[in-house]
C-alpha cells in the first residue's frame, strides 16, 4: 500500500510542479500581482455573461447530440451481431483523427459544391454539425466500452423476467449512466473549449473572445481572467457529475472476462446497418469526398510534394506523441485506481488535470513560457521536454476519465477477494486490475496519441526553434499553399495516423491474447 501511495504522491508532485504550477502561477499573477486588475475586472459586463451563456448552450446542444448519436452507434457496433462490427468501430472513429478545422473546411466545400450555399459558412448549423460529427466517436467509444462490460448473464436474466424495453430502461441505462455522463461532460468541455471551428464559421463564442483579447489587443491578463470563467463552469460540471455519480444507484459488476450479450434480431440488424452506414456517409464519406477531390485537383504531384514537406516531421511528432501518451496513460490509470479501488480522495489531482484541460490553449502556452523561460530552466524550455509537458497537461484528464469509468465497472469484489487471499496491492494491480482494464488502457493511449499528434494551439506557442512537428508544418504551410497541397497534407497526416493506429492495434492484439483477451 505504502509503495503505491508513494507512487501516486510522486505523480501528483511531478504533475503539480511541471504542469499545473505554470498555470496556477499565471492565474495568481493575473489576480494578485496584476497592476491592471481593476481595469480588467471593469471590462467584464453583461455582454461577457451573455456570451458565456451562449457558449454554454451551444456546447450543451453539441454534447447532447453527440451522446445521443454516439450511444445509438455504440449499441449497434458493440451489442448487435452487425456484420463487420469490429471494422465499423474503427471506421466510425475516423472523424476523431482529423483536425476539426479541416473537417469544417471540407464540409464548407461540400455545401458550396452541391448547393452553392454560402450561408452555411456563417451559421450555427455548421458549428453544431462539425463538432457533433467530430465528438460523436468519443461518446461512442466511452459508451461502447461500458456496454461491452455488461455481462450477458445480467441481460439474459432480465430478459427472462421482463421485456427488452424495460430491461434497457431499468438495467442497461443505469449501468451505463456513468459512461453517458462522462461522455456528456467530456464532449461539453471539448466543445466549449474549441476555438478553431467557431472561428471558421464566424460564430462568436467565449473562446473566440479570449483569442481576440490575446491576439488583437495583447491584453494577456484580461484574457486570462476571462478564461477563469471557462474553468469555473467545467469544474462546476465535474463536481455535479461526482455528486450525481455518488448518489446514483450505480452497481459495479460485469467485466471483460465474461462475455457480453450480442443481439441478433434481423430487423434490429438491418436498421442498425442502415443507421451506421448513414452516419459513416454523413460524418466521413461526404467530407472526405471533397478532401480527396481537392487533393488530386492538380494531379498526384501535389501528393508527392506534400509528402516531401512532411517527411522531416514524422519521427519527432510520433516519438513525442508516443512518450506523452504513455505518461498520460500512467497518470490516468494511477488516478483511476486510487479513486475507484482505493477510495482515496483524488480531487486535487482531478482538479489540476481539469484545470489544464479546460484552459484555452493560448493561455496554457503563455503560462508555460512565463514559467519555464528562465536561463536555469532552458533544459526544459529549449528542448522537447516542453512539448511533452504540454501534451501530458492537455490530455491526462481524458485518460483519467476514460480509465476511471472503466475501472468503475470492474467488480470491486475482486479486489476484496484478492486481499483476503493475501495478495499485495501491487500484485492486485498487476494481476487483476491491469489485465481487466487493458482494453481501456489501450483506448486511452490511442486517444491521447491521436490528440497529441494533432495538438496545435499550445504547441505552436512553445515548440523549440528549429524543430518541425506535423500539425505545425501543415498549419504554417496551408496559409498560402494551393488547396490541393493543403488537402494532400491532410490526407497524408490522416493516413499516417491510421497506419500507426493499425500497427498499435496489431501489437496490442498480440499482447491481449497473452492475457486472455483474444475476443477483444
Amino acid at each position: 500500500m505504502k509503495r503505491y501511495f508513494t507512487f501516486y504522491s510522486l505523480l501528483l508532485l511531478l504533475f503539480t510542479v511541471f504542469v499545473a504550477l505554470p498555470v496556477i502561477y499565471t492565474l495568481f499573477s493575473a489576480f494578485f500581482t496584476n497592476p491592471n486588475l481593476a481595469s480588467d475586472l471593469s471590462q467584464l459586463d453583461f455582454s461577457t455573461f451573455t456570451l458565456l451563456g451562449k457558449s454554454i448552450l451551444l456546447a450543451a446542444i453539441i454534447a447532447a447530440m453527440a451522446v445521443l448519436i454516439g450511444t445509438g452507434l455504440a449499441f449497434m457496433v458493440y451489442k448487435t451481431q452487425l456484420p463487420l462490427r469490429r471494422f465499423l468501430r474503427i471506421i466510425l472513429l475516423v472523424p476523431l483523427f482529423i483536425s476539426p478545422y479541416i473537417l469544417a473546411g471540407a464540409w464548407n466545400g461540400f455545401f458550396f459544391f452541391i448547393f452553392e450555399n454560402v450561408g452555411f459558412r456563417s451559421s450555427y448549423f455548421g458549428l453544431v454539425l462539425v463538432l457533433t460529427t467530430v465528438y460523436t466517436p468519443l461518446a461512442m467509444l466511452i459508451v461502447g466500452s461500458a456496454l461491452a462490460n455488461i455481462s450477458a448473464q445480467i441481460e439474459e436474466s432480465a430478459l427472462m423476467l421482463t421485456n427488452a424495453k424495460t430491461m434497457i430502461m431499468r438495467i442497461i441505462i443505469p449501468l451505463i449512466k456513468p459512461a453517458l455522463l462522462s461522455s456528456f461532460v467530456l464532449v461539453f468541455i471539448f466543445s466549449i473549449s474549441n476555438f478553431a471551428v467557431p472561428a471558421f464559421f464566424g460564430v462568436k463564442v467565449f473562446t473566440t473572445e479570449i483569442f481576440t483579447q490575446f491576439s488583437a489587443f495583447y491584453k494577456h491578463s484580461f484574457a486570462i481572467i476571462q478564461s477563469v470563467f471557462l474553468i469555473l463552469i467545467c469544474v462546476a460540471l465535474l463536481m455535479s457529475e461526482y455528486k450525481y455519480l455518488a448518489d446514483a444507484p450505480f452497481l459495479s459488476f460485469g467485466n471483460r472476462g465474461l462475455s457480453t450479450k450480442l443481439y441478433s434480431n434481423k430487423k434490429l440488424i438491418n436498421w442498425s446497418l442502415m443507421f451506421v452506414l448513414l452516419w459513416i456517409v454523413i460524418s466521413i464519406v461526404l467530407p472526405f469526398f471533397i478532401l480527396i477531390i481537392q487533393s488530386f485537383a492538380d494531379g498526384v504531384g501535389k501528393l508527392q510534394e506534400a509528402f516531401n514537406l512532411l517527411l522531416p516531421t514524422f519521427a519527432d511528432s510520433i516519438i513525442l506523441a508516443f512518450i506523452a501518451s504513455l505518461i498520460t496513460v500512467i497518470i490516468g490509470f494511477t488516478v483511476a485506481y486510487y479513486q475507484v479501488w482505493q477510495k482515496r480522495n483524488v480531487r486535487i489531482f482531478n482538479a489540476l488535470m481539469l484545470l489544464i484541460f479546460v484552459i484555452p490553449s493560448t493561455v496554457f502556452g503563455i503560462s508555460l513560457i512565463k514559467f519555464y523561460n528562465h536561463p536555469e530552466l532552458n533544459w526544459i524550455y529549449s528542448t522537447y521536454a516542453i512539448i511533452i509537458i504540454a501534451f501530458v497537461g492537455k490530455f491526462s484528464f481524458i485518460a483519467a476519465k476514460l480509465l476511471t469509468n472503466a475501472i468503475r465497472q470492474i467488480p470491486k469484489s475482486l479486489n476484496d477477494a484478492a486481499q483476503i487471499a493475501g495478495l499485495k496491492s501491487y500484485q492486485i494491480v498487476l494481476k487483476i486490475l491491469y489485465p481487466l482494464a487493458l482494453p481501456t488502457l489501450f483506448a486511452s493511449f490511442i486517444i491521447s496519441f491521436i490528440f497529441s499528434l494533432g495538438e496545435l494551439g499550445t504547441t505552436i506557442m512553445v515548440y523549440p526553434p528549429g524543430t518541425e512537428l506535423m500539425p505545425i508544418k501543415v498549419f504554417t504551410i496551408m496559409a498560402n499553399a494551393p488547396q490541393s497541397l493543403t488537402s494532400s497534407m491532410n490526407l497524408i497526416v490522416f493516413s499516417i495516423t491510421l497506419i500507426l493506429i493499425s500497427v498499435f492495434s496489431f501489437i496490442a492484439k498480440q499482447f491481449f491474447n497473452k492475457v486472455n483477451y483474444a475476443n477483444y
Binding site: 491576439s215 495583447y218 523561460n373 536561463p375 523549440p464 526553434p465 504551410i477
Partner: protein, 333 residues
C-alpha cells in the same frame, strides 16, 4: 581502463563543447513557403545554423508575437521577421526591440524605416482588390474603395476580420488618411451594404476564387498566388487615378533586445535587406522590392508604377490601437 574511459569521455566532452555551432534564432510571421527558402539560403551561404519558429497570418501571428512578448525578460529570439510593419511596431512600443542600422538598407526610402532604426522595411506587399472574372466583367469592377458601398456590390464583397493582420492596418490607414468621421461613415456604409467578413486574407482569396463572393480586399501575395494556382481572378490597385492610392506594406525586421546571438542576427538582417533577397521574394511571392534596380518578374508591378497611400507607419500603428474597440464593435455587431 578507467583512465582510458575518462580520456575518451573528456575528448567527447571537449569536442561537443567546441562543436557548438554558430546559430541564429528567427521568429517569423511570413508564410513558411516563402520565408523558409530564403533562410535556408542564408544557412548555406554563411554556415550559420538558422533555427526558426514559423507562424502564419491564419493564426493572426498569435504564436510568435505573444511568444515574443512573453519571452521579453529572457529572449530566445534574435531576429523577428514580420510580414508587415504592425507587429514590429507593437514590439518596439513594448521595448522588446533594439536598434540596428544595416548598411544594406541605406538605399531604402526613410518612409519604410523607423527613424530610430528599431525596425527596417524591405520587399513590400500592397492591398488590392481581387475579383472573380466569372462574376464581374472588367467594366463592373470597382475602381475606388468607395465603390464598395454601392448597391451593385451588396453582399458580394469580402474583407478579412479588421481586428487582425494587414486588414486592421489598412483600416487604420484609412482613418489616418480620411479622418475619423469619414472613415466611420465609410465603414457604416459597408456594413449597410452587407459586407462579408472573412477569417483571414487567405479566406478572402478562397471565397473570391470559389465564387462565394464576387470580389474582396486582400494582399498582393495572396492575389498573385491565386493567379499562379490558375484561378480566374483579376487584380485591381484601387484609387489610383484620383484617389489616395493603395496601401503599401513592407516586410519588416527587428533585432530583439538582449538576444543571445546578436552578431549573427545582424548578419541575417543584412542578408534579408539585400537586393538579392528582394529579388527572390519578388519571384516567390510577388513582393515589390524597395531597392531600385532589382529585376522583378514580368507582370509584377514595381513601386514606382503604383500610387501608394501616403501614411506615417508609426502614427498609423497608434491609430490602430485607438480604434480597436470601435472595430471590434463594428465587426461583431
Amino acid at each position: 581502463m578507467q583512465k582510458k574511459l575518462l580520456a575518451i569521455f573528456l575528448i567527447i566532452f571537449m569536442v561537443s563543447c567546441n562543436a557548438k555551432q554558430e546559430e541564429v534564432v528567427v521568429y517569423t510571421s511570413v508564410d513558411q513557403v516563402f520565408s523558409e527558402p530564403i533562410l535556408k539560403d542564408f544557412e548555406k551561404e554563411t554556415g550559420i545554423k538558422v533555427k526558426v519558429i514559423y507562424d502564419t497570418e491564419e493564426t493572426k501571428s498569435t504564436g510568435v508575437l505573444n511568444r515574443l512578448i512573453a519571452e521579453k525578460d529572457n529572449p530566445q529570439c534574435d531576429l523577428f521577421w514580420s510580414g508587415d510593419p504592425i507587429r514590429t511596431i507593437v514590439l518596439k512600443n513594448k521595448g522588446i526591440t533594439t536598434a540596428y542600422s544595416s548598411p544594406n538598407a541605406d538605399e531604402i526610402s526613410p518612409v519604410y524605416k523607423d527613424k530610430d532604426h528599431q525596425w527596417t522595411g524591405f520587399s513590400a506587399r500592397a492591398r488590392v482588390l481581387i475579383y472573380n472574372k466569372d462574376l464581374l466583367s472588367e467594366e463592373q469592377v470597382p475602381k475606388s474603395i468607395f465603390d464598395l458601398t454601392k448597391a451593385d456590390y451588396k453582399g458580394k464583397f469580402a474583407i478579412a476580420n479588421p481586428l487582425f493582420g494587414t486588414t486592421t492596418f489598412h483600416i487604420a490607414a484609412l482613418f489616418t488618411t480620411m479622418g475619423d468621421e469619414k472613415a466611420k461613415q465609410f465603414l457604416a456604409d459597408l456594413k449597410t451594404n452587407s459586407i462579408v467578413i472573412a477569417t483571414s486574407n487567405g479566406d478572402v482569396k478562397k471565397r473570391v476564387v470559389s465564387g462565394e463572393v464576387a470580389c474582396g480586399l486582400t494582399d498582393t501575395d495572396d492575389a498573385f498566388e491565386a493567379i499562379n494556382e490558375g484561378a480566374n481572378i483579376g487584380i485591381v490597385f484601387l484609387d489610383q487615378d484620383s484617389g489616395f492610392g493603395s496601401l503599401v506594406m513592407p516586410n519588416t525586421l527587428c533585432l530583439i533586445k538582449k538576444s543571445p546571438n546578436g552578431e549573427n542576427a545582424k548578419r541575417l538582417a543584412d542578408y534579408l535587406l539585400s537586393k538579392q533577397t528582394e529579388a527572390k521574394l519578388a519571384i516567390s511571392c510577388a513582393q515589390m522590392p524597395l531597392h531600385k534596380e532589382v529585376v522583378v518578374p514580368k507582370g509584377l508591378p514595381s513601386l514606382d508604377q503604383i500610387k501608394p497611400m501616403e501614411i506615417d507607419y508609426d502614427k498609423t500603428a497608434l491609430k490602430l490601437v485607438e480604434i480597436q474597440d470601435y472595430l471590434k464593435n463594428w465587426a461583431e455587431n
